[in-house]
Symmetry: none
Subunit: 524 residues, 2 copies
């Protein structure tokens, strides 16, 4: 990417203000590598000097972070009131970080100068000028984040513009206008950006999503002349989050025709979004534009037949361009066409007649409480059964039993025993767990792992329970969905029954069966 337009990521700094998001130094290094692979221009690593973790990050980055595309930016503040920039230890830490870029947060809202900084309006301008000039003279490139800019502009336009010009004239190469409280809407924001651009300063944009418009606001600013756009991976950030950098990049490149990253980098975006969410341990919303698991998933049967004719009629772009996939969801709302498409997606060729049989079977199972749209592995096992005339099976269950008790001393114990037959053997195994399903899971693995070592890769990543309607209280019908992974792929299985444990067992048994199918073992 040329210097003409900046994609500036602040996941490691502003993104980590999100409730529940805590990144270690190693986490930050891993995320920085992912963002670099996407081809962003700048990665804001944190605030060196403000906490030991961020100082350590910049120290390690010099040797451990071999960035191919991005430049590292250190975030910090303008000098304190009444101090020389060169004598301010906070400014010294920015200098000593040796980051090629320093991004200084500066006040542009008169009331914030008075109430938060508790200094005069004139001194605040001097603080901006001095700090920018000092760090520029030290050889660092300086960007300025004009905090609370839009609220400040509404309160005192002249002062807000003075702050921008003070930064630009002192040598800041970008002044990013921050909608810190996130309350702006695109039209009014664009008018303000346009006004600032006309001063001649190079303008950037930094949006928050409190009005649900962070992405649209970022686009509006770019159209109004901003040439530097800030955001966070997966929209992380305080309160409602920052502008989602992936959505912004997707929109600018694919809908506005800008050339921000290479086609190959863009096609890696979905993988990168999921990889980052693995590091943050915050589940990536399945609805996330472009990169979410559901972003190109179709449920309506109405659409399925036309999708067969021309998929572009029902998607805003080819999901392959961002590394995502179209998926057909099978449900009672869908008909034969979606089952055929889903079959093809899974690699099975279904005749019209066979597809119709599968639809009948699915509709019957759904009326009993099953659902397959989130249980693709159960659907594939059903499909294989319909095609082969028999279940894919690696073991036969004779019986199972689980005991859960709370003892007089208050301790809780869960213990399961399973009796299964596999490869000609009868195996009895027992497992403990912190709950009944965990105990059954353990017992089943203990029973099978010797015969099927690949089972060691199986992990249950999610477990959902839903009590279905039409019945009362604890004797209602229960649906259990289990998401499993073998480290390479994820799949869902479903179980249904009046007994929550039996329903869980059904989903568990299919999860294990599917794992063994994927591992390539011969089924009986």
């Amino acid at each position: 990417m040329s210097d003409g337009f900046h994609v500036y990521d602040t996941t490691l700094r502003d993104g980590s203000q999100q409730e529940g998001l805590n990144l270690s130094v190693q986490d930050k290094l891993v995320i920085a590598r992912h963002l670099d692979a996407l081809g962003v221009s700048f990665i804001e690593g944190g605030w060196p000097g403000a906490n030991p973790k961020d100082t350590e990050f910049f120290r390690l980055a010099r040797t451990e972070l071999d960035l191919k595309h991005a430049k590292l930016a250190a975030f910090g503040a303008t000098r304190r009131a009444g101090l020389k920039a060169a004598d301010d230890p906070q400014v010294a830490a920015l200098r000593d970080s040796r980051a090629p870029v320093v991004t200084l947060v500066a006040k542009a809202h008169d009331r914030h100068v008075e109430l938060a900084l508790r200094t005069t309006l004139a001194e605040n301008l001097a603080m901006i000028r001095d700090t920018v000039a000092h760090l520029t003279a030290e050889g660092q490139r300086v960007f300025v984040d004009a905090e609370h800019f839009f609220d400040g502009y509404k309160a005192n336009r002249a002062y807000a513009l003075e702050a921008v010009l003070a930064a630009a004239e002192a040598g800041a190469s970008v002044v990013a206008l921050c909608d810190t409280n996130g309350g702006m809407l695109p039209d009014e924001l664009a008018d303000v950006v346009h006004d600032v651009v006309s001063t001649g300063a190079r303008v950037g944009i930094h949006c928050h999503d409190d009005s649900g418009c962070a992405v649209a606001n970022s686009l509006a600013a770019v159209r109004a002349g901003a040439t530097h756009v800030q955001g966070c991976a997966n929209g992380y950030g305080e309160r409602s989050g920052n502008a989602n950098l992936f959505t912004v990049v997707g929109n600018l490149q694919l809908k506005r025709g800008m050339d921000l990253v290479s086609d190959a980098q863009l096609a890696d975006m979905t993988r990168i979004a999921h990889a980052v969410s693995e590091v943050t341990n915050i589940t990536l919303g399945s609805q996330a534009p472009y990169v979410g698991y559901s972003a190109f998933a179709h449920k309506a049967g109405l659409h399925a037949s036309a999708i067969k004719v021309d998929p572009d009629l029902y998607q805003h772009l080819d999901p392959a361009r961002v590394g995502n996939d179209m998926r057909m969801l099978v449900s009672s709302m869908s008909g034969r066409a979606s089952v055929e498409l889903k079959g093809k997606e899974l690699g099975y060729d279904l005749s019209g007649e066979k597809a119709a049989e599968v639809v009948t079977r699915v509709k019957d199972l759904e009326s009993r409480g099953y659902t397959f749209e989130a249980a693709d592995a159960s659907f594939e096992l059903l499909l294989r059964e319909e095609l082969a005339g028999a279940r894919t099976s690696y073991f036969k269950v004779e019986s199972w039993r689980v005991i859960v008790e709370q003892r007089p001393d208050g301790t809780q114990v869960s213990e399961a025993t399973v009796k299964v037959h596999a490869k000609g053997e009868r195996i009895v195994a027992t497992g403990e767990g912190n709950g009944p399903v965990n105990a059954l899971d353990t017992a089943l693995r203990v029973a099978l792992e010797r015969l099927y070592p690949e089972l060691a890769t199986l992990e249950l990543v999610d477990f959902k329970v839903r009590i279905l309607e039409g019945s009362h209280g604890t004797d209602a019908v229960t649906r259990v969905l289990i998401d499993s992974s073998d480290g390479k792929a994820e799949w869902g299985t479903v179980g249904v029954g009046e007994n929550i444990i039996a329903a869980s067992w059904e989903a568990l048994e299919e999860a294990v069966t599917y794992c063994l199918l994927r591992a390539g073992y011969d089924a009986s």
Copy 2:
């Protein structure tokens, strides 16, 4: 709300296209009541005739849904090609639904007419005209959803406009322009809306979030002259979802000064958003604008002192206006007022100090996964404990045990044993059930009913299990909510734990305790 502007909710129809979202008829009725409480103008209930569930919803709605604000809309399609509208069974089902409003989906994109409908462009226009005219003549108000309108406009502007005019001239009172594939950005969308508005038709807008701009697109359309805006609770919907109705309403009312719902209804929006998510069993994103748990949560310690001086410096609006709270993630300062209020509602007088203690206790329990919003009985028991210094108790549990097994012949057995002490007796009782919780419930009643005959009135009316996020697989933390009734009132209790059975037991024990409290027995 006057007819001059429509807030049109399609959660029950388009929202339920979301992957993993499955609503029962009862779920739909509950959600409709919540949306009505918010004061939306129209609630689209589904497609009567297309599936038995939706037909049943409209049948039940006539007797069970006493809407105060909203009107019910039935969704359906224009007549089939080559058939009279009056003879089309699909159209008849819309008529027979007796919904005051019918919303007809109509094709406005020439390629969709040819490839999906497989008819001529002229016949499609006739289908629109005939169906609108027929239903209007039958006394129903008709809206038209112009599907794939924006893509159609780009492909063939003249035909797209013809479709709109065909609908309007035949008597449709609103033509909603649908960005069905969700790929539009606000600027280009506004230009198109403006063009359509200039034809004189009353225009509505229906957006999807595939570009992350559904909310901004809806606002842009309203600014361009649309007077009817569609969306879904919590942004539910296929792929990346529909426009989030709560965010749209918040923005239009609080930032555009429109008078859509009353101040009191708006102040109920956060509660309603969470209540709907309890029904859908889809976790409400903590970042959701306006209504998310984190939407007004501040982590940056930097600003704490300034927030104390003037919170408005750091939030885009007063969270109380939408029923949310500012939360300081380091030093909590919210909550006391609502606890005092809730205490008063339950008939307990809490001093400021006692209320603060309860807040601390609630916050601690919530951080461990408890929730009291839907567990008022558990909250009251907690309140009584804080005020009296001891739990309200009618029995003491020594131990419990439950065995669930699947025998070699396939039969499943659940058997529970409880050992309790009450009124000086030690009682051992056993119960069977069709699942472990049902068995425990039975055993506990068997143990206590002789001493507390009023227990016979207790019925468990609902049982909900939620696996809390942030943990993996079957060893995740489980929250169980039980709704109980004694025929006069209903109450909720909550239990939390790694062990699903132990969490259920906790909620069950509190449900029984609360039943005995209501029956007026003396607690020990």
